[in-house]
């Protein structure tokens, strides 16, 4: 097997006396689609924020391609759970934001932004400000902004939680298409087990606080997947039983 792109070793993080992440170690292969599921409040968001060093970690190491993670060097995009579209920029300017920060060539920016806007269906709204958009459109803006930088590592924290179902299905399929086309590595956090089974190559099940890895389940169902397929249902039930949240 090839060298993993992301290596996490003995990651530990606590807030005051509250231990949130307890000695977590795992690898992510290049081009892999990894879904992380776990009970509510198990620190999944802390997990991603520690991974990107937005939080200082207490101990352990995180490397990308064998080097310490560096947000300036590595091309990472992170889609947060909260709405993170910038109110003072138009839809188009929001989508350009990451590319501008990275000083990408103007022509490439133009081309990528057009392309990505088309995919998420925002072309008509390019000059709108976030205040004029509905919640689900705002989330599309954020998703487009992340896709536009064509990241080597894409982190998504429940990006589709608040979306209309049909739109969610549409964007899930688009995500898969983009992922297959660009070969990017995706770490996707979700509460929705069906979503996890639908999207992932592998599912990482977390325990309650302090968070550890309960199990890593490979998911080799053929794509495109079908939710009523008995194999699909079987895997979905297996993960549900592992979490046992009710």
């Amino acid at each position: 097997m090839a060298e993993p792109i992301v290596k996490v070793r003995n990651l530990t993080k606590s807030f005051g006396d509250l231990l949130v992440l307890d000695d977590v170690s795992f690898d992510v292969q290049k081009g892999e689609f990894l879904c992380i599921v776990g009970p509510t409040g198990c620190g999944k968001t802390t997990f991603l924020n520690s991974l990107t060093k937005l939080y200082n970690i207490d101990s352990g190491s995180i490397t990308i391609n064998g080097k310490d993670i560096d947000l300036r060097q590595n091309n990472i995009a992170y889609i947060f759970q909260e709405y993170s579209a910038m109110e003072w920029l138009t839809v188009e300017q929001n989508i350009m934001y990451g590319l501008k920060i990275k000083h990408v060539d103007k022509d490439i920016i133009r081309q990528r932004v057009e392309n990505v806007m088309e995919i998420v269906g925002l072309t008509k709204y390019r000059n709108f400000y976030p205040r004029q958009l509905s919640a689900s459109m705002l989330q599309r803006v954020v998703i487009a902004r992340a896709f536009a930088v064509e990241p080597e590592l894409l982190l998504m924290d429940e990006p589709y939680g608040q979306l209309d179902l049909q739109l969610k299905y549409h964007l899930e399929d688009e995500l898969i298409k983009l992922w297959q086309k660009t070969g990017t590595t995706v770490i996707f956090i979700t509460h929705n087990i069906e979503e996890a089974v639908y999207l992932s190559d592998r599912i990482l099940v977390l325990t309650n606080k302090p968070t550890k890895i309960k199990k890593s389940i490979p998911n080799n169902l053929p794509r495109p997947r079908k939710i009523s397929d008995p194999e699909f249902v079987k895997l979905r039930n297996e993960v549900t039983d592992l979490i046992k949240w009710w």
Binding site: P39, T40, G121, S134, S136, E158, G161, Q162, D164, L165, Q166, L167, H170, T190, H191, N192, I227, S228, V233, R236, N237, W245, W246
Partner: protein, 252 residues
Amino acid sequence: MSRKAVIECKHVSKTFYTLSGDHLVVDDLNFTVYENEFVVLFGPGQCGKTTVLNLITGLELPTKGEIIVAGEKVTGPSPKRGMVYQTTNLFMWYNVMKNVEFGPSVRGISKKERRKKAQHYIDLVGLTGFEKHYPVQLSGGMQQRVGIARAYCNEPDIICMDEPFGHLDAQTRYLMEKEVERISSQEKRTVVFVTNNVEEAIYLADRIILLRNLPTSVKKEYTVDLPRPRNYVSPEFLALREEITRDMDPTL
């Protein structure tokens, strides 16, 4: 078995007059809801589902047609028709107890009696011990429980729920769906529940009414006969889910 009709929507249309012009939101809507039935109004995106609920509860009046609830024509809001909202719409300045007993209190029911009643519903939604908390101190799911208790505590003929779990995360949502099922089996009421989530619709409904996109009207109805509690991954459940998804209007 002949069933008693509780809500009758007859040729209802609604136009909004705004400075930017007139908007036809509901167009010739017809449906009936029977006593103690759990009906889900299901439709894509912003298709005017909330307007339909506002018409039923009397917050808005239809431009054409009429709505009859429990034999009376709807002409304005009334304590006989309760509502649970998407954004919880609690009175932020009252604690849980005062929120729940708001209805009985404004109708002049004695303190002792209304406290007893409110306590019953607080216990029913599983918030025992949180009576003195203010809404900001509660999580989204708990706030939604207060909203449900508040609507039930007024003992209305019908209860409307407008995407009550739209803002909750998937796990809390599953939990709340189970709760609503438990509550509505313990306290039989006529419920009109609006959602855009198919799973939720099939899990809860006795009958699903699929709505058309703007202007809103009835597209199709489905009777759900699956045994309760329902299994999200049973073949029948998944088959119905795919059928409904296929029938929906595209929103993109």
